[in-house]
């Protein structure tokens, strides 16, 4: 029965997430432009970009790259479907990691020196944020009593009340996950701080369009994880969660515009220290106090 739920959830997510994610990306560019004293592109600019990429000629540096990217996109949709259909949070985490792996392998398969550097950095990024993401799932389980995201609707108080420290730690690594400066090591949206174009250097046309759509969907999923902290049995809490999501997204854009990229050493050590302090300490408190 829950298999059916996940299937339906994935289909709905596959339609809704690109729309939402596209609007979010457009909003991001608009707000960024305003922060820099510009007017900025139309809200639908990301949509135009992707449509243009689809119109481009079909070329590829090898015969496998496109297939890997398709897999990455499909598994992103599955991860979103699992989470939004009320499924297992940990499963969603694992499936999105799988999607990340396919993205990395696609870049490696091109054998372009620039893409390889990007891929290398992407693996480092995964290593940097993975402990905190696992702690997030574990803390959620300890606070909510279940790994199922649907479990929040049965709670008397939002999980953030007992795992606020984990929430803060999660916000830290969210910057890496949303590919925002200072942690956009593998793939920056700003040409001035990237080696050619990082992990997507060899991707063009339709393949690049799929990558963009994948990022939209990822963002919707990650922001869903943020919202999950603030939902409880009261239906009004969904409004609260959406408000928090908006605030967090604005904060990430602000960070993106105010910090220059750091070296990988700084990213890895800071992310692991945060994971240890915020994630582990909070879990230990939950377990022993």
């Amino acid at each position: 029965m829950s298999l059916l739920f996940v299937l339906i959830g994935t289909l709905v997510f596959a339609i809704a997430a690109p729309v939402l994610g596209c609007l979010l990306a457009g909003l991001d560019r608009k707000i960024t432009a305003r922060m820099q004293g510009r007017v900025g592109p139309p809200l639908l600019q990301p949509y135009y970009d992707v449509r243009k990429l689809i119109e481009k000629d079909r070329v590829s540096v090898n015969s496998t790259e496109g297939t890997y990217i398709t897999c990455a996109l499909v598994f992103t949709l599955l991860a979103g479907g699992i989470f939004y259909s009320g499924g297992n949070l940990l499963m969603s985490v694992f499936v999105i990691t799988l999607s990340g792996l396919f993205f990395i392998v696609a870049a490696y398969s091109t054998r372009s020196p620039y893409a390889e550097i990007g891929a290398n950095r992407e693996t480092l990024q995964v290593m940097a944020y993975e402990p905190m993401v696992l702690f997030m799932a574990v803390a959620f389980y300890m606070a909510a009593g279940t790994f199922d995201s649907a479990g929040v609707f049965a709670l008397d108080a939002p999980v953030v009340s007992s795992i606020w420290l984990v929430f803060l730690g999660f916000l830290f690594i969210l910057t890496i996950k949303l590919r925002k400066s200072p942690f956009d090591l593998s793939y920056s949206h700003h040409a001035h701080q990237e080696l050619v174009k990082g992990i997507t250097t060899e991707m063009s046309g339709k393949t690049l369009a799929k990558v963009e759509i994948m990022h939209w969907c990822e963002n919707v999923l990650f922001l869903g994880w943020v919202g999950m902290f603030f939902v409880w049995a009261n239906p009004v809490s969904i409004v609260l969660a959406i408000a928090v999501i908006a605030l967090v997204y604005f904060l990430e854009i602000w960070i993106d515009n105010n910090f220059a990229r750091v070296k990988w050493q700084a990213m890895l050590s800071s992310a692991w220290i945060v994971a240890f302090v915020a994630g582990f300490v909070n879990i230990a408190v939950l377990a022993y106090l």
């Binding site: 900025g40 592109p41 600019q45 449509r51 243009k52 119109e55």
Partner: protein, 147 residues
């Protein structure tokens, strides 16, 4: 209408410019003109770019580079020669090593003369290039459908 004209991503290459035109190209891409209003983004990657902005004339050394970047751009694509040197070789036209304008290496779609070329002229040229891009894009769609 095609979407090519709504999101023209540019790549900039300095062939053998004195840097005067380069500074103007970058000035045109700065927040002051805010070309992102028209979806224009500067990419450092020919595989992602639609419009190729070349400054300076081509010479024996860089003609291969210009050709390679052009070849690596994905159809449909447009070339804009920025500045008089890129258009015809300019004051360097009879130097021993200069071959001539960019059109000696690759097909140029829009010429934007000037020494140095003004940012407004570059933006104008890019807008003109969008018309060419639109045509090329339509031709490609038709070819895709036919194939």
């Amino acid at each position: 209408m095609t979407f090519a004209t709504k999101s023209p991503w540019v790549i900039h290459y300095d062939a053998s410019s004195c840097n005067g035109c380069d500074i103007e190209v970058l000035a045109a891409l700065c927040p002051g003109y805010d070309v992102e209003r028209f979806g224009i983004i500067n990419t450092g990657n020919p595989k992602h770019a639609d419009i190729f902005l070349v400054t300076g004339s081509v010479n024996e050394r860089n003609i291969e580079v210009v050709k390679e970047i052009y070849n690596q751009m994905v159809e449909p694509k447009v070339v804009v020669a920025c500045g008089i040197c890129a258009c015809s070789g300019g004051i360097f036209h009879d130097c021993y090593n200069v071959i001539g304008g960019v059109d000696q290496a690759i097909p140029v779609d829009v010429y934007a003369p000037g020494c140095a070329v003004r940012p407004e002229a570059i933006i104008d040229a890019v807008v003109q290039g969008l018309g060419v891009l639109e045509e090329k894009s339509k031709a490609l769609q038709a070819q895709k459908k036919g194939a």
